[in-house]
């Protein structure tokens, strides 16, 4: 009369020793806003440094909301209130005294649809740099080139840096906004479904890029594409109904999840 599955191997949860130190420690985070008073419920999670952590879950489970807490983008929502603590660099970023503009330069974000400014390619990448006070033209050019190289876009645009960014293909635009974000050399990069509006080849390119970038940045990616999460991430967090259900090494989550809810979601059984 036996048992449900019961994993006896080791899974790298945030409680049992992780190899990577934590870049961000989330403690008992809860969040609500007018249309959804329980968007996030008591989430505690340690994000490992210099690794890719994927957050997966059904639509509306709160994964994008969680991501946006990390760079205080949720402040833009009307009537938002939150509880709990998020430690980054030893400080709680949810504190009202935190300087959010500085925070956002250290935790960059890339959105679902490529959204370059209607300016030239150069101006796009330089936007954040100029805001943070870089004035010298020479330094700007150098930093822009660096960022474009890191985003695997330099060779394709080096001869037309002053053309409008909107002339690029979608896949190139998405790499451009990644360059724009990493130009500021943030510590953490937040990717909100970065490939969901791209064709499969461009998607694979972005995934390759993520694989490169994780050596320099801590990356957190929200995706509804499970195969992508499996391909690209080292750690995976599964969320449902605003709660964190499970977190661990990606290969463990996908071969032997400990929670029935996780198993059901991953295998496509949704009662």
């Amino acid at each position: 009369m036996d048992e449900h599955f019961q994993f006896v191997g080791g899974s790298e949860t945030s409680e049992t020793g992780q190899k990577n130190p934590s870049a961000i420690k989330i403690s008992h985070l809860s969040l609500g806003y007018r249309d959804n008073p329980q968007a996030l419920i008591d989430i505690s999670l340690d994000i490992p440094e210099r690794a890719v952590t994927a957050i997966i879950g059904a639509s509306g489970c709160g994964k994008s909301t969680l991501l946006r807490c990390l760079n205080r983008m949720n402040d833009l929502i009307d009537g938002v209130n939150y509880d709990g603590q998020i430690l980054f660099d030893g400080e709680d970023i949810l504190d009202s005294r935190t300087n959010v503009t500085t925070l956002r330069r250290q935790i960059g974000m890339v959105f679902q649809r490529p959204n370059p400014f209607p300016k030239s390619i150069f101006e796009n990448v330089a936007y954040g740099l100029k805001l943070s006070g870089v004035k010298s033209r020479r330094i700007l050019e150098e930093l822009v080139e660096q960022a474009l190289r890191s985003a695997a876009l330099w060779d394709e645009v080096k001869d037309r840096l002053y053309d409008s960014a909107l002339k690029l293909s979608l896949g190139q635009q998405q790499r451009l906004v990644i360059a724009r974000a990493i130009a500021l050399k943030p510590k953490v990069l937040l990717l909100d479904e970065p490939a969901s509006s791209l064709d499969p080849i461009s998607t694979l390119r972005i995934e390759e890029l993520i694989y490169e970038l994780k050596h320099s940045f801590t990356i957190i990616i929200v995706t509804h594409n499970m195969q992508q999460a499996a391909r690209v991430s080292d750690f995976t967090a599964f969320m449902n109904g605003g709660r964190l259900i499970e977190f661990g090494l990606t290969e463990n989550i996908f071969t032997f999840p400990t929670s029935r809810e996780t198993e059901d979601y991953i295998t496509g059984r949704y009662g």
Partner: protein
């Protein structure tokens, strides 16, 4: 053939006829709209041609002082005027006055209109009273221009002007300096007139911008102010220009309010001086639209003068067209690099 089959066939037959009917109907619609458009084009080009031919015929032949050929007439038309007979004045001062009015009006309406639009879309929370403000602005665009003229006369000319006179030019009283219609008050009045148009145009442009533009800017560490002025406004520049183009056209063409606040049939001098601030704001000025209006309504017009009137009308049309073309060219130049995200 059975009853059922007959019925079936007749119904499909109806359908076939029906679809033929449909096709006929759509052809008729296309034909109708095509003919309407053609008619409008024909009428407007016909009118334009009429103007042109009248003007040319007056220039080349027709009435005028003895011994005048077309070049002297043209010269008189533009610069001296008086040689041409009763009460006909030169066109050049009117052109100058119109341009001065347009520029001054733009200086006033642009910052005010853009700032209002920015405030309404970027800063104010969408509550019931911002909605009310927006509706009121739209309504203001429909207020007849003469009302603005009356308001301008009361508020600017007598109200503000009177105060300025009392404070700064009391030694000149009872001769009014600013307390009388003039270029400044006219420009302000026209600015008010065009304000709703500019606000609406810019607001439309701002509303059309995708919200992730602002999000992208904020995510890069920009404050609200930096986002508005470095990302949002530059992206909405096309609509700013559109609003200004509309305002320009209206200013050059709208005559009624100017009757009250500063345009005259004949001004002794150009509102222009050689010392600071290079422009005489309290002077009355001439305006092409006004000149036309005056010529038609208040002059006893000889049949021969119709040509002159046509010429002035032509000047007006050409003036407005050139102003528009210049504005469009400026817009294209400034935005050439942008590949506009918002073509509004």
């Amino acid at each position: 053939m059975s009853e059922a089959n007959k019925k079936f066939l007749s119904s499909t037959h109806r359908q076939l006829t029906g679809s033929r009917l449909e096709r006929l109907r759509s052809l008729a619609m296309i034909g109708l709209s095509a003919s309407m458009v053609t008619t409008i084009i024909l009428i407007s080009s016909g009118l334009f041609l009429l103007l042109v031919t009248s003007a040319l015929s007056w220039l080349i032949g027709g009435s005028g002082p003895e011994g005048a050929n077309w070049s002297t007439k043209l010269y008189s038309l533009v610069f001296t005027g008086s040689d041409l007979g009763n009460g006909i004045s030169a066109v050049f001062p009117a052109i100058f006055g119109t341009l001065a009015l347009v520029i001054l009006m733009t200086v006033f309406v642009a910052p005010l209109g853009v700032a209002t639009a920015l405030y309404l879309t970027e800063y104010a929370r969408p509550t019931w009273y911002t909605k009310l403000i927006r509706i009121s602005i739209t309504n203001l665009a429909g207020v007849p221009a003469i009302i603005y003229g009356v308001f301008g006369l009361g508020f600017f000319v007598y109200g503000l002007g009177g105060q300025v006179d009392q404070l700064f030019f009391s030694d000149q009283l009872p001769n009014p300096t600013f307390g009388t219609p003039g270029l400044l008050w006219a420009a302000l009045t026209m600015a008010l007139l065009n304000l709703p148009i500019v606000i609406v145009a810019v607001t439309e442009g701002l509303d059309a911008l995708p919200s992730d533009l602002r999000e992208a800017s904020v995510a890069l560490g920009a404050t609200q102010g930096e986002t508005v002025f470095k990302a949002v406004l530059p992206a909405a520049m096309p609509s700013v220009f559109t609003g200004l183009i509309l305002a320009t056209a209206r200013t050059a063409g709208e005559v009624a309010p100017l009757l009250l606040v500063g345009a005259v049939k004949f001004a002794p001098s150009l509102p222009f001086s050689e010392r600071l601030p290079f422009i005489e704001l309290e002077q009355k000025f001439m305006h092409v639209g006004f000149q036309l209006f005056d010529a038609v309504l208040f002059n006893r017009v000889d049949p021969g003068d119709l040509g002159w009137i046509a010429s002035v009308a032509l000047v007006l049309v050409l003036l407005i067209s050139s102003l528009n073309l210049i504005a469009i060219a400026v817009r294209a130049l400034v935005l050439g690099r942008q590949e506009v995200a918002n073509p509004f």
